[in-house]
Point group: C2
């Protein structure tokens, strides 16, 4: 049963030619209803399955898109991928997953193998913005393979992107803290070479400025996106004089760590100290002391990235489209930043 039946097998059985079979199978109008029916029936009878590989080789379209993310086991990326898959599945595309683990070498390698596999497009969230991968990315653009960045983008000619308005997210989160009465607000940020963190940071600063609050540079530092980093940050912050009375963290995980450390040190949240996270990870709303956070609507982001890809692939004009979609972030204000 290992043997696959091809259109030639069907043709032979029906004593017609493979081309006719192909036409019947593809609803080509130039064919008699009788033969079409006959072909379809025998195809079914012989358990014929179209070989998409051959089809792809011929058409130059693989019907596969590659998705490159730092890792898949984070709620954010998994949700984006879900969005992409749901949008692209009805269009007949398959989604190939690649992880980089923030390693640029892997990123470059993934792009290369995806191109070799003849994917029809690449959707990616870059790991970092060093120049190493510029060459390969330019290669994608030159080959006219649609490339779409989501969330973590870098500035590149001819590349579309879907992001949220990180500036606004940072701004609004900080504003919320200010409204709650926080006067000395700290900010935990990420790799400044990534636009998302830069923008959130800018939003943070603007909110302070707009409210006439002074920016204390000592209150702002770069942390990893994990619980321990948040704890360590609080350790340092509380040793300052004066210590801050609020944190806007660009990472929910760091926010969680911060909260844990604060509580262990007897600091009352939200009465004495407010915390605002970013990402709206599921756990932020599950906590007894639920954590305020900025939602990035990852599902929407994925769907949108897929839509931009579809637009691009269906763009018959020879004009290159460079589309920048910016989604609006949504604040989820919870207990960690709500004083009655």
């Amino acid at each position: 049963m290992d043997q696959k039946t091809t259109i030639y097998d069907i043709a032979k059985r029906l004593d017609i030619t493979a081309a006719t079979v192909s036409r019947a199978l593809n609803n080509n109008p130039k064919i008699s209803e009788a033969t079409r029916k006959l072909v379809l029936e025998t195809a079914d009878k012989m358990n014929y399955k179209q070989n998409r590989l051959a089809q792809s080789l011929r058409s130059g379209k693989s019907n596969n898109v590659g998705v490159i993310v730092p890792r898949i086991d984070s709620n954010f990326f998994a949700s984006v991928i879900r969005g992409i898959e749901e949008e692209l599945h009805p269009e007949g595309y398959h989604v190939i997953i690649c992880q980089t683990h923030e390693d640029e070498k892997r990123e470059i390698e993934n792009i290369t193998t995806l191109l070799n596999a003849q994917v029809d497009g690449i959707l990616m969230s870059i790991s970092n913005v060093s120049k190493e991968n510029d060459h390969v990315i330019k290669n994608v653009v030159d080959k006219n393979v649609p490339l779409i960045f989501f969330d973590r983008k870098k500035k590149m000619e001819g590349v579309s992107s879907v992001t949220i308005n990180d500036f606004e997210g940072g701004y609004l989160a900080t504003k919320n803290l200010i409204e709650q009465g926080c006067k000395r607000i700290a900010h935990l940020t990420g790799d400044q070479s990534l636009e998302i963190f830069e923008h959130r940071n800018n939003g943070f600063k603007k909110a302070l400025a707009d409210s006439g609050l002074e920016l204390n540079e000592n209150y702002v530092f770069q942390t990893k996106s994990n619980v321990d980093a948040g704890r360590q940050a609080v350790e340092k912050l509380l040793s300052m004089n004066p210590p801050p009375d609020g944190i806007f963290s660009s990472s929910d995980f760091a926010a969680l760590g911060a909260i844990q450390e604060l509580r262990e040190r007897g600091v009352k949240i939200p009465e004495e100290f407010c915390v605002f996270g970013f990402g709206n990870e599921p756990f932020t709303r599950f906590m007894e002391l639920s954590i305020s956070s900025v939602d990035q609507s990852p599902l929407e982001m994925g769907k949108m990235a897929a839509k931009v890809f579809l637009e691009q692939i269906n763009n018959t004009d020879n004009i290159k489209i460079e589309k920048k979609v910016v989604l609006t972030p949504e604040l989820h204000i919870r207990k960690s930043s709500t004083r009655k």
Copy 2:
């Protein structure tokens, strides 16, 4: 720049034949070192990329595997996929993701399109065990395409599987509750047609029996795997006379809902009531009242499923292997079931 260079282009440039180029590129021993070097250099110069589609068509190997899951945006499935990807990436395989959303139609359709795409194997967690998909699954086996179930399996001839010992997980979790002094333990289970829930349920019963505790059938019922379901379950359970004093939930989400509802009703955890979940979702350890849970080592499971696939694909004998790997669950005992 859209034009791709092929081995023919290289051949023409070097005034040799495509076959020679192919040999050089594939490290075929029957070729002079000089030509090999020459070919590799010009290939590089001409920015040649191997077309894996053509290669696949010729070899009958696509180097793609399909992974079918109910949904990707759950920590468990995302982690399994991560494991699969990490294990298969070094072997040159790409991972194609398909979601079913627990819909059998989608499941069947996904299997079919994956077969059409000539994947070299399918790794899946089935949605439910009705007979509908039996035919298609049998088709996969008949075609000698390696098929591996992970977590949610069904009994099928010739299909390998990787699961955890759900019975043991259920048994040990329940034992823990008993050791903490719980006398009337309830159980929230899932779709009984799925082996995982059946086995956890069996483990639960066995633990009760081994400890001489009576099984109250009213304490056992099927719930969805979400927070609300857990809350509703507690509502019903507390209205019973006598009410239970512990819950073993087959879902972390239901366990969370149960805890929320219990606390709102003033029931003290773990003093008056203990709760044990299943799945070890990230949030279970993040909570202030951390939730005890059974870990399913999804990363391990994914890697193991991938390894089984590799064994199968590299099995040159014509003997069909049917391997059943059962991983050992690990208890994470936390505050929700720890009385001092």
